[in-house]
């Protein structure tokens, strides 16, 4: 009984921390100016939350260095994302001096990472860019999970015609190559962050659904579910309280991987001109806008910096997934 309480307590702490980070970040990015004076303070509680979360991750995953490296990369970008409004940076949207090389002074301004074609500071654009990708990436993955997992749970547990219909629709969606589907959806709906969430949900929910469905089909035959059924519990209770926690392990690994995929997808879409619109600093957009610079070696920093940033974030997600997978196998 006591073990259960501590388990819930620990899980509760993690959940609280995640909410403490995500809610302010999402508010900041999605609502922006609507927050008014609140905008200055909303991100303050998130910073200690990121630090605490990082500490917990290091402690809990002390057996897997891969997972720790992954967590470090992710927490680095998370920390940047919540701290960036308070850092002494130049305005990321303001053209100051074009084509300043990294580490040089131009027009009396020092550019640590140089400036882009329009003269905006690369450092501040890169750091601000982390905010958008994290918020939209995490939000759309969560949305995809909510939809996919609930459909999968119902399909797996309830079965019957409901399962047939949902599985067929899932098959229809899954028979599209992902990028084709995303291009079609975003073209149809128009380009905005919220439509990215919709598009990602449409394209990944069926895959999540299939995994959850398989896992819950498997779990359904186990004793504890049958016991719950004989107790006469409500199906909803069984699904959420008995089934879901027991299929948690593989799902967390999959979620980490999917965060990586979503980040790739969003960056790629922005590069193709289908994602977030300028002037928001965004890594995919930075690569697109700097394509011209790809003609001279000395200006290639404009491309390399966003490319490395996005790669490091995705590497973080993948390493964490890999590490968690190993830990899962060990226990």
């Amino acid at each position: 009984m006591k073990g259960l309480a501590t388990a819930i307590g620990r899980r509760g702490t993690v959940a609280t921390l995640v909410v403490l980070i995500w809610v302010p970040l999402a508010c900041f990015v999605m609502l922006g100016p609507l927050l008014g004076a609140m905008e200055r303070y909303v991100l303050l509680p998130a910073t200690p939350a990121v630090v605490a979360l990082y500490g917990m991750a290091l402690y809990r995953w002390r057996k897997s260095w891969i997972a720790r490296v992954g967590a470090t990369l992710i927490c680095f970008w998370l920390l940047i994302a919540v701290l960036v409004p308070y850092l002494p940076l130049l305005d990321p949207d303001k053209p100051i001096a074009p084509l300043a090389l990294p580490g040089t002074v131009k027009h009396g301004v020092f550019f640590l990472l140089g400036s882009d074609l329009r003269g905006r500071d690369m450092l501040s654009r890169t750091l601000w860019g982390s905010q958008r990708i994290l918020v939209w990436g995490i939000t759309s993955t969560v949305a995809a999970y909510l939809v996919g997992a609930s459909l999968g749970l119902m399909g797996g547990y309830l079965g019957g015609w409901w399962d047939e219909v949902v599985s067929f629709l899932g098959n229809v969606v899954m028979s599209f190559p992902v990028m084709v589907l995303l291009i079609l959806i975003l073209n149809l709906l128009g380009q905005s962050g919220f439509n990215i969430i919709l598009a990602v949900t449409c394209s990944s929910a069926p895959l999540i659904m299939r995994i959850v469905r398989g896992l819950s089909l498997d779990a359904k035959s186990r004793g504890y579910i049958q016991a719950a059924q004989t107790r006469g519990e409500h199906p909803l209770y069984i699904m959420l309280v008995e089934l879901l926690p027991n299929v948690r392990g593989p799902l967390i690994v999959d979620a980490c991987l999917r965060l990586g995929y979503t980040t790739v997808a969003i960056t790629t879409l922005t590069f193709l001109g289908l994602g977030l619109q300028p002037p928001d600093p965004d890594w995919g957009l930075m690569i697109k806008e700097a394509a011209t610079a790809a003609l001279l070696w000395k200006y290639s920093y404009m491309l390399i910096i966003p490319a490395l940033s996005v790669s490091s974030l995705i590497l973080g997600f993948n390493l964490m997934a890999d590490g968690l997978h190993d830990l899962e196998l060990q226990s």
Partner: protein, 316 residues
């Protein structure tokens, strides 16, 4: 086996019908018609049209009919092998499709040509001795390469190979006719990701096989290690990677979009993006059907490979 193929094919036809009907329904909006008109006549052109003239223009393009009418009309033509005409590019969709698919097929062919031996070889090497130094190096490198999105790989390769070392041209528009040199960067970009992924999967499959009971028995029986690996382990370990290679055809169709756009290569992905941006419904329809077809066929292929290669399934 036969029923599997037939069932899959039937499912494919059903899916294609659903998808194409969906596309027609989706693109049956005023907003879409306006988009096509703006794309074709330009912002200033469309502004000279009165409401009635605009409607007449839409009617002339055949976009005013209800979507079901257009859909069945289109189905009828498809049945005769006629994919229609591109709204944007005034050529038959089939010509356009043939060309762009051809270009993408060349790319895909070379990807497979290099990917299969390299990744199977490396994956096997790593998986044979799990935990060895070689294994750890290969594993970490492959995690890293699968973590770099194509867009970043494309950037880094361009900067290093084209701008820095000058070994390959930075764009692949093939202006002077076909040249393999221009294919190098898109090819490498696709390979780096695909190889990494396949190496990881092969390694996992191989190490699982190596740990299995019958391999251990064979080794205990005193058979030479080399023979055990070549004769028993490899065959069993290949099942999963081969099915994945088949499935990767599907993934390639997604990945070529960004690679083709970045390197300005005229293939299927770029055509699709163009058509989607223009609202070129005929091209979009045909391209989507091709994509769905490739996806379903690659799934079928991978299922068949699984059945053929896996002795347990065959005897079951």
């Amino acid at each position: 086996m036969r029923t599997l193929v037939l069932r899959r094919l039937a499912q494919m036809v059903l899916i294609m019908l659903t998808v194409s009907a969906l596309l027609f329904a989706i693109f049956d909006s005023d907003q879409f018609r306006r988009k096509v008109a703006v794309a074709e006549l330009g912002g200033f052109g469309i502004a000279t049209l009165s409401e009635g003239e605009y409607r007449a223009w839409v009617a002339k393009k055949g976009l005013d009919q209800p979507f079901l009418v257009r859909y069945f009309h289109w189905l009828g033509r498809i049945a005769h092998g006629d994919l229609g005409e591109s709204l944007e590019k005034d050529v038959a969709v089939s010509t356009l499709l043939k060309e762009s698919l051809g270009h993408t097929a060349i790319l895909a062919f070379f990807v497979l040509l290099f990917m299969v031996p390299v990744s199977l070889g490396l994956g096997m090497l790593a998986g044979v001795r799990e935990g060895s130094r070689l294994d750890r190096v290969i594993s970490v490198v492959s995690i890293v390469t699968t973590s770099i999105p194509q867009i970043a790989t494309a950037v880094l390769l361009t900067v290093v190979l084209a701008l820095g070392l000058g070994w390959a041209p930075s764009k692949s528009a093939m202006l002077e006719g076909w040249s393999f040199r221009e294919l190098v960067l898109p090819l490498l970009t696709l390979l780096i990701y695909e190889v990494g992924y396949l190496v990881r999967m092969t390694r996992a499959s191989m190490s699982e096989v190596m740990a299995s009971q019958y391999i251990r028995t064979a080794v205990l029986k005193g058979l030479p290690m080399r023979r055990v690996i070549m004769k028993h382990a490899v065959r069993n370990a290949l099942v999963v990677p081969v099915t994945l290679i088949c499935l990767s055809l599907n993934g390639l169709l997604s990945q070529v979009v960004v690679v083709e756009v970045f390197f300005q290569y005229h293939g299927f992905g770029r055509m699709l993006l163009d058509a989607a941006n223009f609202g070129d419904i005929q091209v979009l329809q045909a391209a989507t059907l091709v994509a769905v077809c490739v996806a379903v066929l690659s799934q079928l292929l991978s299922d068949m490979a699984y059945v053929l290669l896996n002795p347990r399934v065959r005897f079951a």
